[in-house]
């Protein structure tokens, strides 16, 4: 019976809160608008946000490790641009996909190497990476390029029917596969455990003999790879390459992680969180779309407000934890330090 014991504890309360929010948002949408409570509306959440789910999951690894990756949105745009340009020159779909994956992986690995080897701040390195990826895609072309490759067009239009005429796309399958892979890596691999350990305390991780350097580089590599997969999915979704695609999406990915209960100080969070966070923001967008008269900026304000709510919530939980743990650890400055840094 241990498997299904769902006790509400400090560890899962945030992710449960996200789930609850998801139900409330969806419920209120269903109550307010006719046709909101339909399978296809729900499935569309996944179809429209598949790329964001993948990218946010990659970002989650970096954040749990205690870093940040600002380059993800630019890498997605770069992938879309490279793919479109390669197709223009008559490349094969398989070749394009492999090239995209290689570019993303190398890009991430390069950033990880700079951060780890020279102890540069991840903010600066990934910021430069963001400029670099955008700059390269600008160099390829400043115009939008439409993709007409038959394989990509077919893949993008392929519908997988679930019940009756409700369908999902291949992108959703890829996204779900990626999230499951991430969950498995985070929970059952030594790499996953090292990521959590480093995020908790890098010094302790070094003392424990964990491969900190390798894990750091790998985390950014993984984020680059996930961005590349997200880029391929996004290219399938848009069927075009454009250097201005997804401006500012890295902040959406970070926000999804926060709403999904991943602490930005690192070391804590479930890898399913980003997916839930993306769904929450997706539902808000759908509600505003159904509402019809609300302008798009209300999306930003609502998401920002939700961010604030969740952060305050996380803070309350951490503070309660402090209170409970304080009597036992009064003589441990290490613990106090950690709390202060939050």
């Amino acid at each position: 019976m241990k498997l299904i014991s769902l006790k509400i504890s400090h560890n899962n309360i945030i992710v449960l809160a996200t789930l609850l929010l998801l139900f409330i948002l969806y419920g209120s949408g269903a109550a307010l608008y006719k046709g909101f409570f339909s399978m296809q509306v729900f499935l569309n959440l996944f179809i429209d946000n598949a790329y964001l789910i993948i990218v946010a999951t990659g970002m989650a690894f970096v954040i749990i490790k205690g870093g940040i990756d600002l380059s993800v949105a630019s890498v997605v745009a770069l992938i879309s641009m490279v793919s479109a340009s390669l197709f223009q020159h008559g490349a094969n779909a398989l070749v394009v996909t492999i090239v995209a994956l290689v570019i993303g992986t190398l890009f991430g690995a390069g950033q990880g190497y700079l951060i780890q080897r020279f102890q540069l701040h991840p903010w600066i390195v990934t910021l430069a990476g963001m400029f670099l990826a955008r700059g390269i895609s600008f160099l390829i072309s400043t115009e939008s390029i439409v993709i007409s490759n038959s394989v990509y067009v077919k893949l993008s239009q392929y519908k997988i029917y679930l019940w009756g005429d409700h369908f999902i796309t291949i992108s959703v399958v890829i996204a779900i596969a990626v999230v499951i892979a991430a969950l498995l890596i985070g929970r059952y691999s030594s790499f996953g455990r090292a990521v959590y350990a480093i995020g908790g305390s890098e010094k302790s991780a070094v003392l424990m003999g964990l491969p900190v350097a390798r894990t750091t580089i790998l985390v950014y590599t993984l984020s680059g790879l996930f961005s590349a997969i997200g880029g391929i999915v996004f290219t399938l979704y848009m069927l075009s390459g454009y250097s201005l695609h997804l401006m500012g999406m890295e902040m959406d990915a970070i926000a999804s992680c926060v709403i999904g209960g991943i602490l930005l100080t690192g070391g804590f969070g479930y890898l399913i969180g980003p997916t839930l966070g993306v769904l929450c923001t997706g539902i808000i967008q759908t509600i505003i779309m159904f509402q019809g008269t609300l302008s798009s900026w209300w999306t930003k304000i609502t998401i920002g407000f939700l961010l604030f709510l969740f952060m305050a919530f996380q803070r309350i939980i951490v503070m309660r934890k402090e209170k409970n743990a304080l009597p036992a650890s009064k003589n441990k400055p290490k613990f106090e330090n950690k709390v202060v840094n939050l």
Binding site: A128, M130, T142, L264, W297, T299, L307, F308, M311
Partner: protein, 335 residues
């Protein structure tokens, strides 16, 4: 020769030498490649030229970077400055229709102050991590600015308001004087009051500084509020310069440029010592880089690419580890 290397070594320990060096190298490059770069003209009682352009267009960045230096000094960050800038610009241009100019400017700056207080409250009082706390305003801010402008680009014909961004004083662009005033005020605040010392102490080690009797919360609130005010001022300058308020695009990515300026200026993102002078040179370097690329006739779209490469190189040169590994290679070669 030994004296020279000794001098070089002691100079390399001075943080401010790196941004100045970077700027000098850039100017040297310009001197060789673009002959007209340093030409200045006197037209209608104003100075014109690339250098003046750099100073004029760089002024908002300098002002924002000064504020950013303070928050980074306390191991914080403020990624909402671009949105704050958009809000204050939107409020100012919106209010120009019916209110006196002084009230408009005051309202714009006050909006920045409020935003700064909000950020400071989240970081210092509630204890949310700086990046996330300011992420909220980054997201909401542009929404609020759009709310004020109803999603449109507001324009203004007010000459007096436009003077703030476009005007000239003593032959020099007016924004430069604002930037100098902000720098002087913050510099005096840092050196003449205990604030600077407290900020460095609190940024270095919050726990230790609070044991020493410093109230880090108040210091952090002050730092964020000053940053907000700086962003408000920059918002007014930018909207006055283009005589319009664009909620979507005003100050887009300026937070990133400001952070780069601070880091190139030698202030560590891990908190502690901060260098206002270095930040000025960092901001000037970034603006000069942009102007250089424009005057080279290279496509403006490649600015990002060049910026990325230059930033990585400058940061690597600043990194002690990088210089050490370079020295090792040299020794090996010599052996």
């Amino acid at each position: 020769m030994a004296g020279l290397t000794g001098l070089a070594r002691s100079l390399s320990k001075q943080k401010i030498i790196w941004p100045i060096l970077a700027l000098a190298v850039l100017f040297l490059f310009n001197l060789i490649v673009i002959p007209d770069f340093f030409r200045m003209e006197w037209k209608d009682g104003h100075l014109f030229g690339n250098l003046i352009d750099i100073l004029k267009n760089g002024s908002p960045l300098i002002i924002i970077a000064i504020g950013m230096t303070l928050v980074i000094a306390k191991e914080g960050i403020d990624i909402s400055v671009g949105s704050v800038l958009a809000i204050s610009g939107a409020i100012a241009v919106f209010m120009l229709d019916g209110y006196p100019l002084w009230l408009v400017i005051l309202a714009g700056v006050f909006a920045g102050l409020l935003c700064g207080l909000w950020n400071g409250m989240l970081v210092a009082m509630i204890g949310i991590q700086p990046m996330v706390a300011t992420l909220i305003l980054l997201t909401i801010g542009r929404g609020i600015a759009q709310l004020i402008t109803s999603g449109q680009v507001l324009t203004t014909n007010d000459r007096a308001y436009q003077f703030i961004g476009k005007g000239h004083l003593l032959g020099l662009p007016f924004p430069l004087f604002i930037a100098m005033a902000v720098f002087l005020l913050v510099y005096l605040f840092k050196t003449r009051t205990a604030f600077g010392l407290f900020l460095e102490a609190a940024g270095g080690n919050k726990t230790a500084s609070s044991y020493a009797g410093i109230r880090p919360k108040v210091i952090f609130m002050t730092a964020y509020t000053i940053t907000g005010i700086c962003a408000g001022i920059a918002g007014i300058i930018i909207s006055a310069n283009v005589a319009s308020a664009d909620a979507n695009n005003a100050g887009l990515w300026i937070e990133l440029d400001a952070i780069l300026a601070v880091v190139i200026g030698g202030t560590s993102m891990r908190g502690g010592r901060f260098y206002l002078g270095g930040t000025i040179f960092g901001a000037l370097f970034i603006q000069s880089l942009t102007t250089t690329i424009y005057s080279l006739g290279v496509e403006p779209s490649s600015i990002l690419l060049v910026k990325a490469v230059v930033v990585i190189i400058v940061c690597l040169i600043q990194s002690d580890l990088f210089r050490q590994s370079f020295k090792l290679v040299k020794k090996k070669v010599a052996a």
